[in-house]
């Protein structure tokens, strides 16, 4: 668990370099060693199953993360509206993706899955609402 992921080096070398990742595919948490040269994965070692190879290759060549955050909400039952990126965001752009939303204010009502912004922070990825907010008059008391 304490094994730290090494960020891939940017420089292209002549020899294969080894990068270490902790596989998150299952609780076993295999310590994967990924050999790569010029960004291309040559070999994945340390895995116990096929999922480790897939994880190691993806994590080294194009790491992406599910991103969720909140934005300001006006006229809802609470002040923040939960939102998420419509698809996984490249790991290096996660912070910028979230930071760029700081000024966004959404007015109720909001449909479940509504697209609130497109091409967030130049990633080409949409922002969608993960909670339905009904109009104030529909939140009525027991009659």
């Amino acid at each position: 668990m304490t094994e730290r992921t090494r960020a891939p080096d940017q420089h292209a070398g002549d020899e294969a370099e080894t990068f270490v990742y902790l596989c998150t595919s299952c609780p076993l948490g295999c310590r994967l060693e990924v050999d790569a040269m010029d960004g291309d994965v040559i070999e994945v070692r340390g895995h116990s199953c096929k999922r480790g190879i897939k994880y190691g290759t993806q994590e080294h060549s194009d790491p992406r993360r599910a991103v969720s955050t909140t934005v300001w909400l006006h006229g809802g039952p609470c002040e923040r509206l939960p939102v998420r990126a419509a698809e996984p965001v490249p790991k290096a752009q996660v912070r910028e993706f979230v930071r760029s939303l700081s000024g966004l204010v959404v007015e109720a009502p909001v449909a479940f899955g509504a697209v609130l912004a497109t091409d967030v922070a130049g990633t080409g990825i949409d922002l969608i609402a993960t909670r339905e907010i009904v109009a104030e008059r529909e939140r009525e008391p027991v009659g």
């Binding site: 609780p27 116990s48 599910a66 909140t70 609470c78 998420r84 027991v142 009659g143």
Partner: protein
């Protein structure tokens, strides 16, 4: 689709009443309805159904229950859609203030005032509470800025307040790990996560994606030993612990911060269970239940985190489905399955739920291991069943499906649940 289905008029008698509209309550209500119970009431104290799912804005929910990776609010929405299809009365902004042992339920809400109703059966789905500073007796002063991770999550994700500027997190439970990432993305400096045990108590994927991705250090076998500050937290002291988990104060060091978040575990909210004088399991902190999640008081069922602390909302939904269906059966006066096998925690097992099994029906046994085993592990259910798994770790709940066929010939027996490394078994 309206997000709630507030009833126009409360009935004086319901077949099934569900307390709590989180993942357990939502699932139990649907199952009771599908079982044929007609008058079903679900009560929640919050303004909208969904429970803690609404503040768990991160993904990782729903892979089992909805066959897709969704966030907490999305999971709540999908679960609520099933409820609304089933014509369940959902009453929000409402507290259950009292339940008697003959199942009279007293409710209180700003809109409807105080009302009393009778119910054929009751499902307790009240979830859990977070352990606080008092639970682990951290010495020091008592400034503002010390709070549970879930409270900080509610402040940030629902109400738009930051709990502080420089935060330390004690406990590597999933909520703590998730909040480390969440606070970092919101501009808070998270100085480290400290864990008393030699392993993280949250899921491995959260250690990678919430800490490593943001270069937040995880200090294992280390804990908070002092809190300083007059109005507000100014500084805390941390120290490594020895093999007996005793802090080595001579090796302590100070960290300047204004916030200390505690992610040190959940305890079942057993207030209703205690009021109803249900038998409780000291290992789980929740009620003792049969294979249909029926407690020691006939007609009262428990499901979700008030029964035992689950790792995934998906398992809560599944467990609550069994509870809700049986609550529907009982309300309709149907036959109860015999509870003729007892289960008990054995080697490397912290607790087992349910506490009895039936040779008449299929059921799922859930348990947690005490120590991690990183390798092939044999799970035993007495001599009735065994199953090999790749690894078992305390953060992940282990489940075993048990069919009546497996229990053939074990009626009247007590089965011990063990989790043993395969290599030790063979030697």
């Amino acid at each position: 689709m309206p997000i709630t289905s507030q009833p126009r008029h409360l009935l004086s008698r319901y077949d099934v009443t569900v307390v709590g509209a989180g993942p357990a309550g939502l699932s139990a209500a649907v199952a009771a309805r599908e079982q044929g119970a007609e008058r079903i009431l679900m009560v929640d104290r919050d303004p909208e159904p969904g429970g803690i799912l609404l503040q768990c804005i991160h993904s990782g929910f729903g892979l089992h229950e909805f066959k897709q990776d969704v966030t907490g609010p999305e999971y709540a929405h999908l679960a609520l859609e099933r409820v609304i299809e089933q014509d369940v009365d959902v009453l929000t902004n409402t507290y259950v203030t009292d339940v008697t042992r003959d199942l009279r339920v007293k409710l209180m809400s700003p809109e409807a005032g105080i009302s009393t109703l009778d119910t054929g059966s009751l499902v307790i789905a009240t979830g859990a509470r977070e352990r606080t500073r008092a639970a682990i007796k951290i010495p020091g002063e008592r400034p503002a800025g010390v709070m549970t991770a879930g409270l900080a999550q509610k402040m940030v994700n629902l109400h738009g307040y930051l709990p502080g500027r420089r935060a330390v997190i004690l406990g590597s439970g999933d909520i703590g790990l998730i909040m480390a990432r969440r606070l970092t993305l919101e501009g808070v400096q998270v100085l480290g996560v400290f864990e008393l045990l030699p392993f993280a108590s949250g899921l491995g994927r959260n250690v990678v994606q919430c800490l490593q991705d943001f270069d937040i250090p995880l200090h294992l076998s280390t804990t908070v030993v002092d809190i300083h500050g007059h109005q507000r937290v100014e500084r805390i002291a941390v120290a490594p612990v020895d093999d007996d988990l005793v802090p080595q104060l001579d090796k302590s060091w100070d960290i300047e911060c204004d916030t200390l978040l505690l992610s040190i575990g959940l305890i079942p909210d057993a207030e209703l269970a205690r009021q109803l004088q249900l038998n409780l399991d000291p290992r789980t902190g929740g009620p003792v239940v049969t294979s249909t999640m029926e407690t020691s008081l006939p007609g009262v069922f428990a499901a979700g985190n008030n029964l035992h602390i689950n790792d995934l909302a998906d398992w809560v939904s599944q467990e609550a489905r069994a509870a809700g269906a049986a609550a529907g059966d009982v309300a309709l006066g149907r036959h109860r399955a015999r509870q003729d096998v007892t289960v008990t925690p054995g080697r490397n097992v912290a607790y087992v739920v349910p506490h009895t099994l039936s040779t008449e029906r299929s059921q799922t046994v859930s348990f947690r291991v005490k120590q991690p085993i990183y390798g092939d592990t044999m799970l035993h259910l007495g001599d009735a069943h065994k199953r090999k798994v790749r690894a078992v770790v305390p953060p992940e709940m282990v489940t075993m499906k048990v069919s009546p066929k497996l229990l053939d010939g074990f009626a009247g027996d007590t089965l011990r649940v063990d989790a043993i490394p395969v290599e030790e078994e063979e030697s």
